[in-house]
Amino acid sequence: MVKPAEPRISKRPIWTGRITIGLVNVPVKLFTMIFDKSFSFRFLHKQDGQPLKYERVCTKDDKVVPWEDIVKGYEVAKNEFVVFEKEELKAARPESDQRIRIDRFVDFLSVDPIYLDKSYVLTPDKSEDAYSLLLNALHSMGKAGVGRITLRTKEYPVLVHVYKGALVMTTLRYAYEVADPSSLEELKDLKEPDKEQLRLAEKIVSDLSGEFNITEYEDTFKEKVEELIDKKLKGEKIVVKKPEKEEAKELMVALQETLKQLKKK
């Protein structure tokens, strides 16, 4: 009963626009297809089981700060901040131009997975023919388009590629976001392996070779927690009590009135 449903692609696109390749346009809709299914817990007060809330408290006087008195600061040195107003940041952000601009096509397998970040599925937006054309061309040639998109207020490099009969857009990490491991000391003086040993290692690898199948892997922690939740639900359940406020009282008065009226009918 607590098991979350299989991820389902929403009916609501998070973005609509078009793939542009030179002068060619393919209108598309963009949908989320990656769902984080890891568990999240809430902190409760142990004594009464009620959820805790977070408050933004000033580190100087320990008083709660209202949203309107909050600005953003970038810490340039320890305890030294450059302050930004909302408008200043807004002005610096790129405008979305509703486009996925493709700059070139590359062999899909030549893109190192290290750069792949988050994938979104693309569907045709009254552009079935053009969509199908692009999909089939990429599929038969094993190619992917490299380009960029502005999503909300951030620009990303992206890869447009084929996955299970759909065009998928995967955002890419910028080069500066990925560390270069070749600078690691530990890797600098690796010896060339002995030829005999290398052949043996290669044999082991080839013996264990097979098809990639992601469904062989299951999240055992998640399963155990789900089991525990089911058990706990059969026993005691903590029901969250809502604080009764003025508003809630007014609601109840209205509710009583309406119930009376409905009964009269």
């Binding site: 449903a5 009916k11 609501r12 809502k242 009764e244 406020k245 508003e247 809630a248 007014e250 609601l251 109840m252 209205a254 509710l255 009583q256 009135e257 309406t258 119930l259 009226q261 409905l262 009918k265």
Partner: protein
């Protein structure tokens, strides 16, 4: 909270959903409770589509056609194939106060309804004329066209009802016996629209890609399988928290201001002009 009055677990009552007017979800629920005696009869046995604004009307809302996962078991649903969505949808049906409160508690500011009842989903019992102005046509022009339409329908022996859309339109509705297809009601509404367009140069009866400024469209295309209209008494996601308000015809005149019909004023209004809407279902004669 007081569980004897409602089965609904109310939540986040203090959350502000209309930021300009600082209206909270609690106030929205209160509105729907107060309006329920008039609204429930009009919603009954009808598949609904909600527009939810969990983060307020300034943030993106979303359409909820299917009953959301986690809905209480007492919420009634009806599975129907929607041609618009091209799949089977588990629609929410609201026949009682608890369901309406539950809907409001989902931050569903707008409640849209289909033009056919659940048991006659293929055969509408409402024909809708959506009177849509293209600026600079004003709301007064909309009123004028709506009154022309009323006259036309009455001359055919029909009894039209009218409501504001909550925005800049007026909706004229005919309750009809569910003996017709959507194709027929659409054609009927279209014919009437064409008729008025012939008599009045500012009125257009067809959608065109380039909307001509200053024209008023009598939109007939909403009369389609699976399409919805904003329900009478539903709130709208507008800055003024307006309501799609059923009106007495004598109030449809110069000076009517749809923005004054809102979350604060509507519950105080004693009139119930659509009270007998479904008691007056008529036949449509398509000529």
């Amino acid at each position: 909270m007081s569980s004897s009055l409602t089965k609904v677990e109310l939540s986040n009552l203090d959350k502000i959903l209309y930021p300009q007017l600082r209206i909270t979800k609690g106030q929205i629920i209160e509105y729907y409770i107060k309006i329920a005696p008039k609204m429930l009869d009009l919603l009954a046995q009808r598949p609904l589509v909600l527009t939810r604004f969990p983060d307020g009307i300034d943030k993106e809302g979303f359409y909820e056609k299917d009953v959301p996962i986690g809905a209480p078991s007492w919420v009634k649903t009806m599975k129907r194939f929607s041609e618009t969505a091209n799949r089977t949808i588990s629609y929410i049906v609201c026949n009682d106060l608890d369901t309406l409160i539950w809907i409001a508690n989902l931050a569903s500011i707008e409640v849209h309804m289909t033009l056919g009842q659940a048991d006659s989903f293929e055969n509408p019992d409402l024909a809708l004329f959506d009177i849509d102005p293209e600026p600079p046509a004003s709301f007064e022009d909309v009123i004028e066209v709506t009154l022309l339409l009323k006259e036309k329908l009455e001359s055919l022996g029909l009894k039209p009802y009218v409501k504001t859309s909550g925005k800049r339109r007026l909706h004229v509705v005919l309750p009809i016996l569910p003996d017709y297809s959507f194709r027929q009601t659409r054609e009927f509404v279209h014919q009437i629209g064409k008729h008025i367009a012939r008599e009045s140069p500012a009125v257009v009866s067809e959608f065109s890609r380039t909307k001509k400024p200053g024209t008023i469209l009598v939109d007939y295309l909403q009369n389609s399988h699976g399409k919805t209209m904003i329900s009478p008494y539903s709130l709208r996601a507008t800055a003024n928290a307006t309501v799609s308000m059923p009106l007495d015809w004598h109030n449809v005149k110069k000076g009517l201001k749809p923005e004054e019909l809102n979350i604060f004023t509507v519950p105080k209004n004693e009139e119930n002009p659509w009270k007998d809407l479904f008691k007056n279902k008529t036949r449509l004669e398509v000529n």
